[in-house]
Subunit: 223 residues, 2 copies
DNA sequence: TTGTCGGCCGATCGCCGACAA
DNA sequence: TTGTCGGCGATCGGCCGACAA
């Protein structure tokens, strides 16, 4: 997976350590997520393990497009630091000195509703999408966007309505269905260095803390 | 899976040995089908192994509904018979002294075509399905049928047209889509001892030996 | 600026009898 | 008896501007 698109999908909160840097590995957190908790040999039972990053792979789930990283670690024989000591994360990778244009939008009901299109925020259309020919009436174009797997998706991009707004129509509902997107999920558009348009997905955390997206807040009775 | 429905889906060609009976196990055939060929310990390298049947489980694939059996064997310490000697299969299970009414039909193009219904052979409608009230005009009823997983499917059964014929309409195309049936696959209806209607699926062998089901034979040019 | 709605039009679904194999 | 076809009515998908938040 292209690291730029990967980071755009993961969000700015997510930082990945550089290869060769030192990190502290928390086996407890790993074990809690593993299906079959690993048994650590004696000497590994300390709550933290100082490690060096051997390799980092940027990956995406084949089914859900969710991005994740596989990080190979090797323990260092230095004495483990006390766990109460805070270890600042390695400085984020500044591989991309050129700022990459990207834009994320959380899908509204209307975006996710079947039979609807996608309302493109003006900023996204003007800075990420290929430039429209505004001399047409209405201005229309076909935009192609690559997802994390390299698959290309085709959308009809039109600028219409009163007042004028940018919309994705034909091709959008197919994308929503194939990716199984629902209101609350986010979509990421990104223009790579080579000028190529990419599209990613960031799924909402399950249940959104019980938030009911089907009912507008102003229709909720105060309890 | 209900053994009656299992046998109806498997077809009359398929016989399963009884628990406790003696069979000859052909490791070669097993190994050829296994993803990772098992390595037999020394002493098991003979081409046939006399075994006793410990248990038989009637199962169905969760995805395709295809039926199969898991048979547990234990080798007997009698000397293996020479492989050239033919071993007649154990007599088929006669657990069901009461003859079970069942009917299988290979799906035609019209049956499998989207937007179509299912043409029910008269014999099937009259002996397997619940009796229609022929005083209605046209006679209609809702029939419920359980598949191998115990899921219930709902069909509208109507007797109409000139000349009159039995059809499944509403509910049929949903069934075809969910089960991913195509022309050439077969469907099995069965009335269990308790009077319950069951439905099973028998998929056509892949490609049907290259038979082109899309072209009627009378449209084929002789070569 | 953009989220939601109702209108509307075309495509598809699916039920039907006619007809013939 | 039953497989295939064309028809046609109902439903649905999906594009649109109006309107308001």
């Amino acid at each position: 997976v292209d690291p730029q698109l990967w980071h755009a999908c993961a969000g700015s909160q997510v930082q990945v350590p550089q290869v060769g840097s030192s990190v502290i590995y928390f086996p407890q957190g790993h074990a809690e997520h593993a299906a079959s908790p690993p048994e650590f040999p004696l000497g590994f039972s300390s709550s933290t393990i100082a490690c060096r990053v051997l390799s980092v792979k940027f990956l995406a789930d084949r089914e859900t497009d969710e991005v994740y990283a596989r990080i190979a670690l090797h323990p260092e024989n230095s004495t483990p630091k006390p766990s109460s000591m805070f270890d600042p994360p390695s400085p984020p990778q500044s591989l991309n000195p050129t700022k990459i244009a990207s834009f994320a939008k959380t899908l509204t009901q209307s975006d996710a509703n079947n039979g609807g299109g996608f309302s493109v925020p003006r900023y996204c259309a003007e800075t990420i999408f290929p430039r429209l020919d505004y001399s047409e009436d209405p201005p229309v174009q076909i935009v192609l966007a690559k997802d994390v797997h390299g698959n290309v998706w085709k959308f009809r991009h039109i600028y219409r309505g009163t007042p004028r707004r940018h919309l994705l129509t034909t091709g959008w509902s197919n994308f929503v269905n194939q990716k199984k997107l629902v209101a609350g999920d986010a979509i990421v558009f990104l223009r790579s260095g080579s000028g190529e348009l990419c599209v990613g997905v960031r799924r909402s955390t399950k249940g959104m803390g019980g938030m009911d997206l089907a009912t507008p807040w102003h229709q909720l009775s105060s309890v």
